[in-house]
Subunit: 213 residues, 2 copies
């Protein structure tokens, strides 16, 4: 029985890692589709987010089965409950990648990136990709040091988010309301992506230490 | 033991209702602060969202205790697991009310609502308030018919969200990038608020019927 239970917990962890790795691929593709106005790649991102949602739902069902049948306690319970929340965050990260890809698709063949913001969005995309990679690493290794790295990356992302607004509200874009909308939404999506990565990190911290701070 | 357990489940439900009712107050105040550029009211909204987060964390702890000590099954388990997710959605609704209030505060003494969009945002705010009220009603009464009402309200909200973009991208706001940013963000916040109300409704459907669709 204990062996079956340990196997279930390993499966929860493996499935979280699997979903997180798919999120890495999705945000990488979304960032490239957005940067290069690659509409075919954008379509693929939009499809893959649905796949991640299905895997998330299947994982939720597994965790509910474990709660019902195996009554975990202490850190095992924290992992199972945490998995429910982490899968929700990972799904939201995939949704946000999808939204970024949708912006690229809407504006095609134009670019969704207003002039003067190309470098900033390239950097935001790279930060999102790096954060997603760190989330997958954290889920795989359960190394607490990765939590700190994720929080630091999120601080960098928040700074860039503030910078986008400064730029958009400067006088450079007054003849381009579409650019203002796109930059506002894209920046918000990137920033929220980082917030969800931090949520996963917090859940792992709760799992590893039993406290949320 | 069974009596203690039933009491715990009632407490979960009561706390969800309590949080949902606070969300109704918060989104009502946020909508008024945004519509009237009332900076004092905006400050109160920003404070109340933190209170809701604390209540949400306390409820999460209660549900984890119940999972650990009382090993619920079937619909009881669905309620407890659902409570974890619903509290997260209610907290996000409060966050979004906070973001709406922040927009009002940033622009004060100017209005955050660009000209020509006052009526649309008044309607979006009213829809958010109504949806939050329906969420509280659903949690209190557990009446499946309310789920349908919430979904219908969300459809209305999505239509208005699309309308805001049409308006913003028409040629009326080209001299007002701040207005474009504010309208884009505010509309997105309202739309996400509705999405989270629908998430709560879906969780209640799962609790009531055992299926997600």
């Amino acid at each position: 029985m204990r062996e079956v239970f340990q196997q279930s917990l390993r499966e929860v962890q493996e499935r979280l890692v699997e979903i997180a790795e798919l999120v890495v691929g999705t945000i990488t593709d979304a960032t490239n589709a957005f940067g290069d106005s690659d509409v075919a790649l954008a379509e693929r991102v939009i499809d893959s987010a649905d796949q991640i949602e299905e895997l998330g739902s299947a994982l939720d069902q597994l965790t509910i089965d474990i709660l019902a049948r195996q009554q975990p306690v202490a850190s095992d319970l924290r992992l199972v409950v945490g998995a429910l929340r982490m899968s929700a965050s990972l799904e939201r990260m995939a949704d946000l990648a999808q939204h970024i890809a949708q912006l690229a698709r809407y504006r095609y063949p134009e670019s969704a990136i207003p002039r003067g913001l190309k470098k900033t969005f390239t950097r935001m995309g790279a930060l999102d990709v790096e954060m997603a990679g760190k989330v997958a690493e954290l889920l795989r290794t359960q190394e607490a040091s990765v939590i700190v790295e994720i929080r630091d990356l999120d601080d960098d992302l928040d700074e860039l988010h503030a910078k986008v607004f400064e730029k958009v509200l400067s006088d450079k874009l007054t003849d381009n309301p579409t650019g203002v909308v796109d930059a506002t939404l894209a920046s918000r999506y990137h920033e929220r992506f980082g917030d969800h990565a931090v949520s996963v990190a917090k859940q792992m911290q709760f799992f590893l230490s039993g406290t949320m701070d």
